[in-house]
Every structure is written in structure tokens, then in C-alpha cells.
């Protein structure tokens, strides 16, 4: 099994525990893993991946990885790095790893989960056929916690491939799953309608539109269901029902503009123009730049006109003409500005991105009016992905610039260290060699003492423990004795007796003190041992420091040279890709802004005619009153 495969098996095996990734605080054993999470929780995917890309290979490199603190999190870490890659839009890298699992010899649930992940990735990358092929590979046991999401994904894949009947059948399995409430009903409704089962489909949409949950995602799908159903009822001219469904859409949700516009039309088509004024007034006063608001600016005076209040209608049409005119001017200025490259410059302004609401802040930049429309442009998935990639490239460019500077600083550090240590080391080494031989001699002496003391345990040698004074005295006695007997002379008996007594006195002391001295000798040996230990520690510390001195400047040249070359290549690639990405973004923005300008121009023309008509009617009404 290759490394990649092993990596993803762990990745997939740890799937079930992955959600615990948000609650590791009390059990966190590896702080560097915690650091990766710290970056990930802030959406700093590059830093999060980079941290784990550094730590995980280190873990596998050490001899006993089970002693590494990352061992406690290795499954989750390898899982998370895959997820971070997906969030960083590195689908290829994550995809290659997943495919290795599928092709490997792994248990069925692991394989199926890997297939699920692959299919999900294809689906997100707008590759519905590949997603369908992948999801069809699932056979047999599926991990319990993945099952609802797999079913939901399969249904979505079926739908984008036009297999709506199959999607509806699939969705039946998860209709009762609370975690999918709202989403499953909505998709069921859409699948049935597309499959020609209009009535049943609408019932599911209605069900999705009545879900009682308060999380933002469910509330959004609920709004969406009500909007779709309401618009269908409008198309059927069932305005009363349409109105009641559209009014279920939250007034501050992402679909509220379209719902308010529709709600007004549901009234207007029933000639309830007074009622229509309510949603349309709210909408017309929102001052946003979306299509519904712009349409409401025309619909509102239209309702007043129908109510016979022509003067108010004329005033509102005039207001619409002015507003549209300003909007067209701003759009023209925006298109010019985008062409001039100001848009791209504004997007990468660092000080703006420090603000969490930078997209909104960008709207206030006077020198680049096009940024006002960024929020609307961001509504497009393609634009969002393209923009994110552009910003990612800009982030890479900045990193590369910083790293180039870092490497130069590193080279500087290395040079300075070399200049400092190299002249010092020969003299230090010479002195160390002398000290080293002295130390070795002392170590040998200590070992000899230990051996003797050990031997004395079984064969006592009191004379070994004689004091220096005793030795000198004994030597003196012996010297006297030799002197007296020199030349074969006989030592007088009384002198011999005195010598014997003297020797006896000294030996008496040596023998009677033996036990005490032996104990003391052991104590001294222990003291010596601790001194030797300190000496050895200092010795090791010196050896380490000596090695560190050399290592602080030797062996970096190749690494730095290679990194410099890799950085230069990366810089070249980034600088090649950025303008292309910028061009795509520019084209997208210009295309969107031009479409908007054309639409508003059309609205402005309509407003002009309607205003003229309203003035005519006002005049005629006044003439009628005068007559």
C-alpha cells in the first residue's frame, strides 16, 4: 500500500470522529495540531495545511511515532488536512488521495465512504456525470453517519443529470431524517415537478415551506421553497394562494426582494392595488441594486396610477428615471474603471480585508465605483470561485515575496555565524583536546578506585586505606630499619623492639580504623561520582554546543539554493496565472455590469414613457376638474 493510500485510509477511517475536531480542547495533546486548527477555524487554509504538512511527515519519520504527541490525533489530523485542502479548493490533491482508497484493498464501509467523498467533490466541481458514475460505485455497507448525506447527495446528482424520478425515489429514504428536514422535502418537490408530478411536487414544496426550525440554512431553504411555490401559483393565476405563500418568506432573508415583488403582483393581478403598495413601497425604498428592487420602482407608480393617483405616480416615475439615470452613470463609470484595472487593485487592498465585512466596505470606495456591485457579483458561484482563486494567488504572491526576503536574511545569518565561529573553533578544539585527555585520565582513576573498593568487600586490604601520614610514618620506619641494618649490621634488640612497636602502633590504627575508613571511602566515591556526573554533563553540553556551532552554518547551502530556485519558479507561475485570472474576473464583472446597465436602460425608457403618460393623465384629470 503506498503512502498516499495509507494517508486516505486513515483519513476516511477517522471520518466518524471528525466532527469532534471542534471539541478537542480538553484532550488536545499536540499543540502544533491545535495551532493548525487555530488557523483553520479562521479560514486560513494555507497556514493550516502548511502546519499539518510539516507535522504529519515528521510524525512518520520518527523511529517511535507512538511516543510523538501527534500520535493521539494522527487520524483526525490526516482527515482534517484533506478537508482543509477541499476548503482551499485543492480538489485534485484531495481527489487523488480518495481514488487511491477506492482502488485499494480496504473494508467495504471505508471504500463506500471514500466514494461518497469523491462523488461529493465531483458534484461541487460541476462534474455531474463523473459524480453519477462515482456514486453508482457504492455497494454494500455504508457508515451509519454518512448514510443520510450520501442519499441526499445521490438525489442531487440524479437531479442535475435529469434523473428526477430516480431522485424522488432516493429522497423518500431520508424524508423522515430530522437533520435533512426542509432540504429533503424541497428537493423532493423539485424532483417530482420536473418528473411531471406537479401536484405531488407542490405538496412537498409546501411542506418544506412550513418547516419549523430556526437555523439559518433551514430558514433559507424554507424561504426558497415558499418562493418557488409562490411563483408557480402566480403562473397558474392562483393569486390568492400565491400571496399567502409568498408572505411566508422572511422579510429580511435572501429571497425577500423577489417575494415582496411577487406579493405585490399577486395583489395587483387581483386589482388590489392598495394592498400591492405595501410590499412594493418596502421594496422600492430598500435602495439596493437588485432586479426586484428596480422593478418595484416601476411597479409602485404603476399601482398609484391604477388607483388614479397620477400625480404621485408621475413623481415616483420621475424619481425612478433619476435613480436609473444615476445608476446607469455609475455602471458606465464602473465598467470603465474595471477596464482600467482598478477593480482588481481594490480587491487586493490589504487594509480593507482586515475588516470582516470587507465585501461591504468595498462598496464605499469612491475611486472604484464598480466595487459597489461586488456583493451582487458574489451571488454567482463562478464569480465567487474565480475571485477566491484570484485572492489565493495574491496571497501566494505575497508569501513568495516574503520568503525571498527570508532566505536572504537566512543566508546573512549563516554568513555571520560562519565569520564568528570559524576563527574561534581551532583554538577551542585544541584546548578541548587537552582537557579531554585530562578528563579521560581522571575517569580511569575513578574506575580503578571503584574496582579496588569492590575487591576489598571480599578481600579486605586495610593498608589501601592508610592515611598519607600513616604511609609516610611507615615509610620512615622502614627507612630507619634499612639504615640500621645497612651493610649487614645487626639492629640492636631494643631498637628493633621500638621499631616493631612503632610499626605496630601505626598498623593498629590502620586496622582498627578500617571499617570506618572503608565506609568513608564509599562515601567519597559517591561524592566523586556526582562530581564526575557533573563533569560528564558539562562535557556533553560542550560537545553539543560545539556541534551546534558547526551546524549553525554548515549544510544549508544546498537547501537554500534549492528553495530559492523553487520559489523563483513558483513566482514565475503565479505571475503568469494572476493576470489571466484577473482577466477572467474583469470579463465576468464587465459582462454582469453591462447586462445590468442594459436592463436599467430599458427600465429607464419605460419609466420615461410612463412618466409622460402619468403627467398627461394628471393634466387631463385637472382639466376635467376645472371644466
Amino acid at each position: 500500500m503506498n503512502g498516499l493510500l495509507a494517508f486516505v485510509i486513515i483519513l476516511v477511517l477517522s471520518f466518524s470522529s471528525a466532527e469532534a475536531g471542534t471539541s478537542v480542547s480538553s484532550d488536545l495533546k499536540d499543540l502544533y495540531f491545535g495551532e493548525a486548527l487555530y488557523h483553520a477555524y479562521q479560514g486560513e487554509w494555507f497556514d493550516a495545511i502548511s502546519r499539518l504538512d510539516t507535522e504529519i511527515p515528521e510524525y512518520y519519520r520518527v523511529d517511535e511515532p507512538e511516543k510523538d504527541t501527534l500520535h493521539f490525533h494522527i487520524n483526525q489530523a490526516t482527515f482534517d488536512v484533506g478537508d482543509f485542502e477541499l476548503n482551499y479548493r485543492m480538489h485534485q490533491r484531495a481527489g487523488r488521495a480518495i481514488k487511491s482508497v477506492i482502488e485499494g484493498n480496504v473494508p467495504e464501509p471505508v471504500r463506500n465512504e471514500a466514494i461518497y467523498r469523491l462523488a461529493r467533490m465531483y458534484f461541487q466541481k460541476d462534474r455531474p456525470e463523473d459524480a453519477l458514475k462515482a456514486v453508482n460505485l457504492v455497494h454494500g455497507a455504508v457508515p451509519e453517519d454518512v448514510r443520510p448525506e450520501l442519499v441526499y447527495l445521490r438525489a442531487n446528482i440524479d437531479m442535475v443529470n435529469g434523473r428526477n424520478g430516480e431522485a424522488a425515489l432516493t429522497l423518500k429514504d431520508i424524508l423522515s431524517d430530522k437533520s435533512m428536514e426542509g432540504f429533503s422535502s424541497y428537493n423532493m418537490g423539485i424532483a417530482l415537478i420536473r418528473d411531471g408530478k406537479e401536484q405531488s411536487g407542490r405538496e412537498y414544496l409546501d411542506k418544506a415551506g412550513r418547516v419549523e426550525k430556526s437555523d439559518e440554512a433551514t430558514l433559507s431553504i424554507k424561504d426558497k421553497a415558499n418562493l418557488v411555490l409562490g411563483e408557480k401559483l402566480m403562473a397558474d393565476k392562483d393569486y390568492e394562494s400565491a400571496k399567502s405563500v409568498l408572505d411566508r418568506v422572511r422579510i429580511d432573508g435572501p429571497f425577500s426582494n423577489r417575494a415582496l415583488l411577487g406579493s405585490g403582483w399577486a395583489d395587483a393581478y387581483r386589482d388590489h392595488y392598495e394592498s400591492a403598495l405595501v410590499p412594493w413601497t418596502i421594496l422600492a425604498e430598500r435602495g439596493t441594486t437588485d432586479e426586484s428592487t428596480e422593478e418595484a420602482m416601476l411597479a409602485l407608480p404603476y399601482a398609484y396610477g391604477k388607483l388614479g393617483v397620477y400625480s404621485k405616480a408621475a413623481v415616483l416615475y420621475d424619481k425612478a428615471v433619476q435613480t436609473f439615470g444615476k445608476e446607469i452613470d455609475r455602471l458606465n463609470a464602473s465598467i470603465t474603471s474595471v477596464h482600467e484595472g482598478k477593480f482588481l487593485k481594490a480587491l487586493v487592498r490589504e487594509e480593507i480585508k482586515q475588516d470582516p465585512n470587507w465585501v461591504i466596505k468595498l462598496r464605499e470606495l469612491p475611486e472604484s465605483p464598480e466595487t459597489f456591485y461586488l456583493l451582487d457579483l458574489m451571488a454567482s458561484h463562478d464569480f465567487q470561485e474565480t475571485l477566491k482563486n484570484y485572492l489565493d494567488l495574491e496571497e501566494l504572491r505575497k508569501k513568495i515575496e516574503v520568503w525571498s526576503g527570508d532566505l536572504m536574511a537566512f543566508e546573512d545569518i549563516i554568513e555571520k555565524r560562519k565569520a564568528y565561529y570559524q576563527p574561534l573553533l581551532p583554538q577551542i578544539d585544541k584546548e578541548f583536546r587537552q582537557l579531554d585527555s585530562k578528563m579521560r585520565l581522571r575517569f580511569m582513576q575513578r574506575d580503578l578506585i571503584e574496582q579496588r573498593l569492590k575487591a576489598m568487600l571480599t578481600a579486605p586490604h586495610p593498608e589501601y586505606l592508610a592515611t598519607a601520614a600513616e604511609r609516610t610514618a611507615l615509610d620512615e620506619v622502614t627507612r630507619l630499619e634499612q639504615k640500621l641494618s645497612a651493610g649487614g649490621k645487626a639492629v640492636p634488640a631494643d631498637v628493633a623492639a621500638r621499631i616493631k612497636r612503632l610499626r605496630g602502633v601505626i598498623r593498629f590504627g590502620i586496622y582498627t580504623e578500617y571499617d570506618r575508613r572503608f565506609t568513608e571511602a564509599h562515601r567519597h566515591l559517591r561524592d566523586l561520582n556526582s562530581d564526575i556526573a557533573r563533569l560528564k554533563k558539562a562535557y556533553i553540553s560542550f560537545v553539543r554546543a560545539r556541534q551546534a556551532a558547526t551546524q549553525s552554518y554548515e549544510g544549508y547551502n544546498n537547501i537554500i539554493r534549492t528553495l530559492k530556485s523553487r520559489i523563483a519558479t513558483a513566482r514565475e507561475k503565479v505571475m503568469e496565472l494572476m493576470p489571466k485570472q484577473g482577466e477572467i474576473l474583469t470579463n465576468m464583472a464587465v459582462s454582469e455590469l453591462s447586462k445590468r446597465r442594459d436592463r436599467i436602460t430599458e427600465y429607464q425608457t419605460k419609466a420615461h414613457f410612463a412618466m409622460a403618460d402619468s403627467f398627461d393623465r394628471t393634466t387631463r384629470a385637472q382639466e376635467k376638474v376645472t371644466k
Binding site: L37, F46, D53, F123, L393
Partner: protein, 171 residues
């Protein structure tokens, strides 16, 4: 799964139903090709980054002098952390003011490496202080000392912050 993917799937499915063409100069294939090249360069730069991390550690923070200080929030803490100050042997070595995102990341169990530096083997004094606000909005200030015993290997100290105390842990 690190983040729940359902909403992503829904969003994607809605969007796929209304694919938009932007300008005549860009085809879907070109965009895909560009995307793939961007993925490749991301991989290259990530690999450089990992190698640089290793080089930096070896060159700037060799294990016999390396010391790192990490900050975490004690489990279940809800107080608002505003800033921290780190002093090592009475010298200020790190100071940080927290953004909303950083604070949220700490609350979700992320750990911030606040300082990495070099010290000699032996004992050193670490002083850690923080400023913040309690849940009720009153000021919160804490400061604690800790003896850091640096040996031959890298020294890692975790500082866990709670409204009541600061806890140090050798890791």
C-alpha cells in the same frame, strides 16, 4: 467532517441549474484549465512552505535552545480575551491583541503559538498577563509567573487561560 457539507451541496445544486456564461472570451474549459493550474501552484507553494518551516526551525530555533509558548482557552470559557503580554526573564517577548475571528478560533479549541525563541538551558521566569472582559462586562486582568526549566530538548509551554486563573503546563 470538519464542516457540515449539506448547505454547500444545496447551494451548488441551485447554482448548477443556472450556469451563466461570462463574456465570449472565456470558455468553461479554459476556466477549468486555469483552476487546475492554480491548484498545482498551490501544491507547489505549500510544499515550499513546509520545507521552509523545517529549515526555519533548524536554523533559527535549534532544539537545544528552542522555547515555544502556546495559548489556549480553558474548556467552556466564555469571557472575552482582549490582549495578552508575555515576558521572559523580565523582557517583553510577545504581545497580542485579539480579533473576533481569533477569539472564536480559541474558543473552538484552537491553540495559538504566541512565541518561539531561544533560551539557554536552565531556569527562566515566564510572566504571562491578559486583559479581557467578563460575561457581565466588567474588566478582567490576570497575571501569573512560571518557572521554565530548559533542558536539552525543545521546551514547549502551554498557557491555558480561564476567567479565574492562568494555568501553565510543560508539554
Amino acid at each position: 467532517m470538519f464542516f457540515r457539507q449539506t448547505s454547500v451541496i444545496v447551494a451548488a445544486s441551485m447554482l448548477m441549474l443556472s450556469v451563466t456564461a461570462y463574456g465570449q472570451n472565456i470558455t468553461k474549459e479554459q476556466m477549468k484549465g486555469q483552476d487546475e493550474q492554480i491548484q498545482e501552484i498551490k501544491g507547489d507553494v505549500l510544499s515550499i512552505s513546509a520545507d521552509l518551516n523545517r529549515l526555519e526551525e533548524k536554523l533559527l530555533y535549534p532544539s537545544d535552545t528552542e522555547v515555544s509558548v502556546f495559548v489556549s482557552l480553558a474548556g467552556g470559557e466564555t469571557f472575552r480575551l482582549d490582549s495578552v503580554d508575555v515576558l521572559l526573564d523580565n523582557k517583553p517577548v510577545a504581545r497580542h491583541i485579539y480579533s473576533f475571528k481569533e477569539l472564536e478560533a480559541l474558543k473552538k479549541s484552537g491553540v495559538q503559538r504566541i512565541y518561539t525563541g531561544n533560551i539557554r538551558t536552565g531556569d527562566h521566569e515566564l510572566q504571562f498577563s491578559y486583559n479581557g472582559k467578563t460575561d457581565s462586562g466588567s474588566d478582567l486582568k490576570k497575571s501569573e509567573h512560571y518557572k521554565v526549566s530548559k533542558g536539552v530538548g525543545p521546551k514547549i509551554v502551554e498557557v491555558s487561560l480561564a476567567a479565574q486563573n492562568i494555568t501553565f503546563k510543560d508539554r
